[in-house]
């Protein structure tokens, strides 16, 4: 290879190397800008994340260190990667509009045996390369992302200078949005006060049930939840869950009140018809167990004064005829009365008196249990109303989130008639089976199946209209799905003629057929240049008359 060719090669390669260095410098700047953007965006994100969620986050130093390591690793990888000058040749050709001259020369420098033509081309390319100025060809460019990097850096600095408020958590922020429990908001304070008033009411109802650990546990749980709520340690969702748990505790081990009441009523009916037991029977039928117990005691005391043959015999016979009951609570009472009956039958007045006294004690105990159960039901209903009220208070923050929350609570809730919810635009209304005055207060025997729908928080809670009987009837009518009645015999012909009207008339058939024929004939299916030929063909084969036409 001649010296001239060597110098041509050196010139070309020298120019390409200078171009390549500048290209890589620009790429490095661009990559660094992107890396800086990523760093500031990450730190800004962590800053916001730290403000919203109380989770442990890495410090700025750690993030910067990791970033530095990553950038250095990438830089090292790029530096050690083998690269050719072909890209620099391509960039030079493109920017200097050389029409692949340097690219061709560089290719033949590195590949294949040189020929006179490739040497000649390399000589021309060397001349071109010598004239190129890499500084002008690849100027230092400010990366496009630098503005973004500056903005992100400024935002990050701003976040450091004016840190975001520590909202604790997303749920905490949501709870604050619901109504807040801070000391500086009168509305929030009033909510707390109302909740505490409800807690006191529950506490008072619970005093009568202190012998039941379950009631005590529920009350304590609720009081603890209220305390935490007041101290802003509890979110709305958590508070509602606590209330749900407390309500479930109160509803555990409930008496089957309705069956019990029916059993007492039957017992009263069985005892009817006797002068001695009439008052007792009425008291049992009216569910006045304390009075019934008192009457039993009076009866026990009067046994000695009664006529041994008539009155005691009648008494023994009626008590003997008492129907057995499946209710555990009533079985003991019936057993005592049965024992009294047997004692009366044996003319054992003392035994009968003792048995009646025992029956009176059992009846009093049953009265206490029923009263306690009634109070527990009231407490449960009040809790549910409170849940509804709190949920409705939260309407202003986010209807969708609240609806989801309530649906979860309703699914998790056990037994009882669930409160219906209807959502119209931005407002959520609660509908219940009772009126606004509160069914529970008017229904002393309300079992676990009933719920109070009163307004525990006063005017803040808006309840929907109660479901009216007419509405229910309308739904039932719609749901019947009865088939329409068949036409009466006298209307059969009229019905048939009505169906006939829907069929296509004879006149229309002809009309439509004609239209279809025209449509077919109008279709351009025969190329125009063959039409004459087709016409002639059909004319030739047409049947002719006698005249030859």
């Amino acid at each position: 290879m001649s010296d001239t060719n060597s110098s041509d090669r050196a010139t070309i390669l020298g120019t390409l190397r200078r171009v390549d260095r500048r290209v890589r410098l620009n790429e490095g700047l661009k990559g660094l800008t992107v890396a800086i953007c990523v760093l500031f965006a990450l730190m800004l994100f962590l800053q916001v994340l730290g403000a919203l969620f109380p989770i442990p986050l890495p410090s700025i130093g750690v993030v910067c260190g990791l970033w530095g390591l990553l950038v250095a690793g990438y830089w090292l990888w790029r530096s050690t990667r083998s690269r050719t000058l072909g890209r620099a040749a391509g960039i030079s050709d493109r920017r200097a509009n050389l029409k692949d001259e340097l690219k061709t020369a560089y290719w033949f420098i590195g590949h294949g045996e040189p020929t006179p033509w490739t040497e000649y081309q390399a000589g021309l390319a060397a001349g071109t390369a010598a004239r190129l100025d890499p500084v002008q060809l690849v100027p230092m460019a400010v990366p496009r992302g630098s503005a973004t990097a500056v903005v992100l850096a400024a935002l990050f600095a701003l976040s450091l200078w004016a840190p975001l408020p520590d909202a604790g958590s997303i749920l905490g922020a949501t709870a604050a949005g619901f109504g807040g429990f801070g000391d500086d908001d009168p509305e929030q304070v009033s909510v707390i006060e109302e909740l505490m008033a409800q807690a006191v009411a529950l506490d008072e109802s619970g005093e009568l049930l202190e012998e039941r650990a379950i009631s005590k546990e529920a009350r304590e749980r609720l009081e603890e939840a209220l305390r935490r709520l007041q101290e802003n340690e509890l979110s709305l969702e958590e508070m509602l869950r606590e209330m749900e748990e407390a309500r479930n505790l109160l509803e555990e081990g409930n008496l089957d009140m309705s069956t019990l009441q029916e059993g007492l009523e039957d017992l009263g009916k069985d005892l009817e018809g006797s002068d001695t037991l009439d008052e007792l029977a009425k008291a049992l039928q009216n569910q006045e167990l304390e009075e019934a117990a008192e009457l039993l005691r009076e009866l026990a005391e009067k046994l000695a004064e009664m006529d041994a043959t008539d009155q005691l015999g009648d008494l023994a016979e009626r008590m003997d005829q008492l129907a057995p009951s499946d209710q555990q609570e009533l079985q003991d009472l019936l057993a005592a009365l049965q024992e009294a009956s047997e004692a009366l039958g044996e003319q054992n007045a003392e035994g009968a008196e003792q048995a009646l006294q025992d029956a009176a004690d059992l009846m009093e105990a049953l009265a206490d249990r029923m009263k306690a159960q009634d109070l527990m039901n009231q407490a449960s209903q009040q809790l549910q109303s409170l849940e509804q009220a709190m949920a409705q208070q939260a309407m202003s923050m986010d209807p969708e989130q609240l609806a989801e929350l309530l649906s979860q609570l309703q699914q998790e809730g056990e037994g009882g008639e669930q409160v219906g919810m209807s959502m119209a635009s931005d407002e959520v209304q609660w509908q219940s089976g009772g009126d606004e005055e509160g069914d529970a207060s008017e229904d002393p025997q309300g079992g676990p199946s009933g719920h109070a729908t009163g307004d525990p928080l006063g005017g803040d809670v808006k309840l929907g209209d109660p479901t009216r009987l007419e509405v229910q009837l309308e739904v039932e009518i719609l749901d019947t799905g009865e088939e329409p009645e068949p036409p009466r015999p006298e209307n059969i012909f009229e019905e048939e003629s009505r169906q006939e009207d829907s069929a296509l008339g004879y006149g229309e058939v002809r009309q439509r057929s004609t239209f279809a024929e025209e449509d077919v004939m109008s279709a351009e299916r025969i190329p125009w240049r063959y039409r004459n030929l087709v016409k002639l063909y059909f004319l030739a084969i047409r049947p002719r008359d006698d005249n030859g036409y």
Binding site: T84, G86, R87, A89, G90, K99, D100, E101, K103, T104, A105, Y106, W107, F108, H111, T115, P116, W117, T118, E119, Y120, Q121, G123, L124, A125
Partner: protein, 331 residues
């Protein structure tokens, strides 16, 4: 050595310019067509000229043959034309001794420049007579193969209208044409010039400026131009983009093309690109040269599928889409 190359380049450009100027005396406008025809001639290829009647296709070919000092023959393709009418046949004649002998009577194919006028009017059997001649530069009659004199250059014309009773060229034959050039209507100014030249008493005439040896020399020069691998890669990418089943197929090709261009197309792109580079005073082929050759080299090698035929898609549209969307190699 450098001086030799520079001389060759100088001669090439000078001779090409002389031919172009001389043709320009008769043919008005159509510079790209003239350039395309000459590039094909210098690339050892053949040209298919397509245009409606009256645009000067035959006149162009006649003028080129007049300018070049080469033998010329014209074959008017008709449905009753037989292969023997093209390649020649054995005839019985009486020798000086009175003996009856069979001797080969060469057909019009035995010329340097052959004008196959309205080539699509002959039957495929007759068209196929051109196949061997175009590719092998030889014809076989009976058991004897006759070499054709070089340069052998076929210029075929066809009319895109009046397709009734014609026999479109089969794909195998189309592929043998180096370029397919489309002649369009001249502009108004060019029409004035045509009228000025052809409606006077003296019609313009041309001189023979290029002989057989010069053409063969120019062909050698053109083939010597180096091409970088990346530029060659670009030519391959353009060709492969016309293949609907190829992974880098262009969306238009995937939709409308049944068969893409053959390797002959890539050869045409590269060789045509070399001549184009020489004409642009360069001794290296650029991607731009390849692009400028793409339409004439690919348009007749892209076979449309049913959907493409039904929607009357112009292959030029597909090729232009490929040119637009195929990036040049970076390195």
């Amino acid at each position: 050595m450098v001086t030799d190359i520079e001389n060759q380049l100088e001669i090439f450009r000078e001779q090409f310019k002389r031919v172009q100027d001389e043709i320009g005396k008769v043919i008005v406008g159509n510079d790209e067509i003239i350039k395309g025809v000459l590039i094909s001639l210098l690339s050892r290829g053949h040209v298919l000229l397509e245009g409606i009647p009256g645009l000067g296709k035959t006149k162009l070919v006649q003028t080129i043959s007049d300018v070049l000092h080469l033998s010329f023959s014209r074959i008017q393709f008709t449905p009753d034309l037989m292969p023997g009418d093209i390649v020649g046949t054995y005839v019985v004649h009486e020798s000086e001794t009175g003996e009856k002998v069979l001797s080969f009577q060469p057909g019009p194919i035995f010329a340097n420049i052959v004008l196959a006028d309205e080539v699509n009017r002959a039957t495929p059997k007759t068209q196929s007579a051109l196949l061997e001649a175009m590719q092998e530069k030889s014809v076989t009659v009976g058991k004897v193969t006759h070499r054709l004199d070089l340069p052998f250059f076929v210029l075929a014309t066809q009319n895109p209208l009046e397709m009734e009773g014609t026999y479109p060229l089969p794909e195998a034959q189309l592929d043998r044409f180096f370029f397919k050039l489309k002649i369009t209507y001249p502009a108004v100014e060019e029409m004035h010039e045509i009228l000025d030249r052809t409606t006077q008493v003296d019609e313009p005439s041309v001189e023979r400026v290029l002989g057989r040896d010069e053409i063969l020399g120019m062909r050698e020069t053109a083939r010597s131009i180096p091409i970088a691998r990346s530029v060659q890669e670009y030519a391959i990418q353009l060709t492969m983009a016309t293949h609907p089943d190829f992974e880098s197929a262009h969306p238009l090709a995937s939709r409308y093309v049944r068969f893409g261009a053959s390797p002959r197309a890539t050869q045409a792109l590269v060789i045509g690109g070399k001549v184009n580079a020489l004409l642009d005073d360069r001794v290296h082929v650029s991607c731009e040269d390849i692009r400028s050759m793409a339409l004439p080299a690919l348009r007749h090698r892209v076979l449309l599928n049913f959907e493409g035929e039904a929607e009357r898609v112009d292959p030029d549209t597909i090729i232009e889409g490929i040119i637009k969307d195929t990036p040049e190699p970076v390195e």
